[in-house]
Amino acid sequence: MAENNATVENNTTVEETKEEVAPVEKKGGKKHIIVDPITRIEGHLRIEAVIDENNTIVDAFSSSTMFRGMETIMKGRDPRDCGLMAMRICGVCTGTHYQRSIEAVEDAFNVTIPKNARIVRNLIQGALYMHDHLVHFYHLHALDFVDVIDATKADPKKTAEEAVKWAGVSGHKPYISAEADFKAVQDRLVKFANEGRLGIFGNGYWGNKNYHLTPEQNLIGVAHYLKALDIQRDLAKMQAIFGGKNPHPQSIVVGGVTCVQDIKNPARIALFKQLLKDGREFIKGAYLPDVYMAGTMYAKEATDSDATYTATKGKGVGGTGGGILNYMSYGDFKLDDTGFYNAEDLFPSGIVMGGDVSKVLEVDSQKITEDVAHAWYEGTGKPEHPYVGTTIPKYTGLDKRDDGYAYLKTEEKYSWIKAPLYNGEKMEVGPLARMVVGYAKGDKRITKYVANFLKRSGLPITVLFSTVGRTAGRAIETELMSDVMMDWVDELAKNVANGDDSTWTEFDFDEVSVDCKGAGMAEAPRGALGHWMVIKDGKVTNYQAIVPSTWNAGPRDEKGQLGAYEAALIGTKVADPEQPLEIIRTIHSFDPCIACAVHVMDTKGKELAVYKVDPTCAF
């Protein structure tokens, strides 16, 4: 295994920066800024952007600066054991890599799991979607919209009225509605603020003029932020009921699931349902209303089609943060028992190119390749399919300049993330992609939820092609998921009551594992996720994973096509280059998980701490 011998040079030979200001390299009126680290994400990410004299981003580069050889560790192991290890790629989307890895083996062995196992896996993953989306919105993303300090100025009585109003837009009653409750949160906040240090709210971009919420709206945001800490604990419990624990559940095995006693116990199912109901109340009474509120207050940006990447190509579509507008979904949440790649999907698979929802392409997995022209890996000179792909590090370093900063060598290799391509083109993946593809395909359920959202918010469909749209897409999906899971729990209970307690499909390991390969291609909370595995004589001989953030955060390819993050930043106007609020808002809207993207164990390096990037809560 060549990986073992590969040496990587020091990837962060950067001088201690002397002062807390941005490295702004000025060239003909343009400024080259570095934002590193991007915080409130999982993993380590650097963004470099070139800003013109009007403070508009004209070029951008996305880079991850850390490597760990997960594939190397997998090689030579029993394929049945890889799932548990693959799960440790990430403690945040916990359980997703696990299931994909197991599905790859099932694909290789040609095993179809029983109905109970399918539903249980859907419930485990569904619980993860609810948990992950909620934590993302409140704890990783909300502070890009909500000015915490401004909330200290709110009038609690008016705040309560405001909460009723936005919950009304979402057609629900507010989760928190009492004036006294808002007052209590505000008192606590004031106490924090008065004592000088703000705890986890310190050092944000408070007061930036691109915060658009009123003090009352900000207070609603803060109150929900705190409540969501409690709610997420219960949502995680749902995963533990059928998974054993969270993080890192343990009940999925090649052929099915092991939790037969939990599905046969009506008390377990009732508890699951109760937690689901409670979580759903918060989603409908707080999360959705907050997204309507943010969407409305940030509608100007979200519909500014001039501030887009597409505008630089001719005609602007969508709004700030839109980007490449190629959306891909592998499809997931199997709704029947006809087999993994035959079953109908809750989220259909498909590709929408250039934001044109009148046409959907089918996904052909043979057309997926990875390009390493700008990634720190050895390449064969052409993009490769993951079955034959390699992961051999070839680190070429950063460009250290006299100003004391190290810049990406953007002309050559500049990231540990490979650049995946579909049929030679860049794709964006994630909840928004799933909603756009489902809508374009005319999926009844998705269309209903998307249409509902647009009707209630009064925003046009093109609003989806923006930073706000990405955030809305995630919220729409969360609501849909919380509704549909109610049916799944009932379906499970009914099936078991009817006497079906089968949870595992038998197979003869020695016979099926002689020479085979398989793919687990489906959806993670953050988007299309594939694990590819080649098996010989019962052992893994090649293992590659292309994770959602590989698609979204990848660098340019050999043809110079921009990655989804890179393109999304272009056209954005930055109010104050010293406070790259708009940059992190857009990057956060993708919900980055960079540890996954490079298969590293969380790095969070701060080698070039250039901007005072705000609260670090990379869950």
């Binding site: 040496t7 990587v8 040079e9 020091n10 201690e16 680290p37 490597f67 050889g69 190397t72 560790i73 192991r77 029993d78 054991d81 290890m85 440790r88 990430c90 945040v92 916990t94 606590r188 106490k191 000088g196 240090r197 703000l198 986890i200 709210f201 050092n203 800490l229 409690d230 604990r233 995680a236 533990a240 054993g244 624990k245 993080p247 890192h248 559940p249 343990q250 009940s251 095995v253 099915g256 037969v260 006693q261 008390a267 595992w504 052992k539 164990m601 790095t603 969070k604 390096g605 701060k606 080698e607 070039l608 701490a609 005072k612 990037v613 609260p615 670090t616 809560c617 990379a618 869950f619």
Partner: protein, 412 residues
């Protein structure tokens, strides 16, 4: 790491557990009680650290919360292996946890332990995170980042020199002079970073299996030469809280114990607190009666599985594993890996990825053994071993644990 030979398997299987002696006589506990009381009174004099709210007030405010809180305090007292009479002390200690500064750094990790921390049970999770534990530095929760984060860290270690508990999440990559992992503006390696922050810590808590024993990055062939903290840092008290991820109850337990007594808890030979790791999973397992009766799940989903039989033959490593999962479980006691029919993968033991984490019994493991090693079938020695161990351990067959499971089902 080779697959264990028969003899070493046998010795693991029958190893003595390292439980805290809970029957040390009234005199011992009276003295301990007085010591703890004095320490808490002393701590009370100290103001909560800088911005922290006085959590005590809010606990005393609300009746319902107060009851929940006391329930939690008494469960925690039991977990710490203290007599029930210590409950008021533990409750007092809990509201004063914010007097002990905690600095939390992340090295080669997956953030799973931070995720686990925010699943803590207790009175109110936002209070645990924001007010109760005085997290002076935690990359995932802290407001400041970049230079300001580093400054916050500098301030904390300077201001609380010799007093802070340092929590470390993630392994230390030692290969290539440590350059597989760097942190901060100067490109400091994880190794140097750890050494620098460790220097002035009162004690180090390695949390999760990566920080304790190397964990997943150290799995064969250990591409980055990852190591656990105890193999790297010398001359400091180190407490290991392994498991993948560590149980948040054990994290809070260690802090509480420190607040309560001013010292680190009793440790086993792998530096794990005995209150948590003095138990063999197998000895308190709800399926133990089936083990003793020779009733096993032979295949996933079979009749045995439907009847909650023992999971040994489908790979449960509970007999080789020391942890309190079988007692406190996960996510507020909702379930655990044996409960869910999978079995224990030994995640709180060194090198478990190479030694235990597979769905076959020991020695039938078709696993990677980079240094060679046996690949026998289970019947060659697994069953013989089973019988021997079954007899040996049958004396304390835990019928009560089975009853315990049923009870908690009712509650749920």
């Amino acid at each position: 790491m080779a697959v264990d030979k028969q003899e070493s398997v046998k010795s693991l299987f029958t190893a003595q557990s390292a439980k805290v002696d809970t029957n040390r006589g009234d005199a011992y506990y009276e003295k301990l009680y007085a010591q703890c009381r004095a320490r808490l009174d002393e701590l009370k004099e100290l103001a909560p650290l800088n911005n922290r709210m006085d959590f005590k007030e809010s606990i005393e405010d609300e009746g319902l919360d107060r009851r929940d809180f006391l329930k939690w305090a008494s469960a925690t007292t039991a977990m710490l292996m203290l007599p029930a009479s210590f409950t008021p002390l533990v409750a007092d200690a809990a509201v004063m946890m914010n007097r002990v500064p905690v600095v939390w750094i992340e090295l080669s990790d997956c953030a799973g332990n931070t995720e686990a921390l925010i699943r803590s049970d207790g009175p109110k999770i936002d209070e645990i995170i924001l007010d109760i534990i005085s997290l002076e530095f935690n990359e995932t929760l802290l407001a400041a980042s970049g230079h300001q984060a580093e400054k916050q860290l500098e301030d904390a270690i300077e201001h609380f020199k010799g007093k802070y508990l340092l929590f470390v999440e993630g392994a230390v990559p030692m290969g290539m002079d440590g350059q597989y992992g760097t942190i901060g503006a100067s490109g400091e390696t994880f190794h140097d970073h750890l050494q620098r922050i460790a220097k002035d810590a009162a004690a180090i808590v390695a949390v999760g299996s990566c920080a304790t024993f190397g964990g997943i990055p150290a799995a064969a062939p250990n591409p980055t030469d990852a190591k656990g903290v105890m193999d790297v840092v010398k001359g400091k008290p180190i407490i290991n809280i392994p498991a993948c991820p560590a149980n948040p109850s054990n994290m809070v337990g260690v802090i509480l114990h420190y607040v309560l007594t001013g010292s680190i808890p009793e440790l086993d030979s792998l530096l794990r607190p005995k209150f948590a790791f003095g138990y063999r999973i197998h000895d308190n397992c709800e399926r133990r009666a089936h083990f003793d009766a020779g009733e096993y799940v032979e295949e996933w989903g079979d009749e045995g599985a439907k009847n909650n039989f023992c999971l040994y033959k489908v790979g449960c490593k509970g007999p080789m594993t020391f942890n309190n999962c079988s007692i406190i479980r996960y996510n507020e006691g909702v379930n655990w890996p044996v409960g869910v029919g999978r079995g224990c993968i030994g995640c709180s033991e060194p090198d478990f990825w190479d030694k235990y984490a597979y769905e076959r019994p020991m020695a039938n493991a078709n696993i990677k053994a980079p240094t060679g090693g046996v690949e026998k079938t289970v019947d060659e020695f697994g069953l013989g071993l089973l019988t021997a161990a079954g007899v040996g351990i049958a004396i304390h067959a835990a019928a009560s644990a089975v009853a315990g499971k049923k009870e908690s089902e009712k509650e749920a």
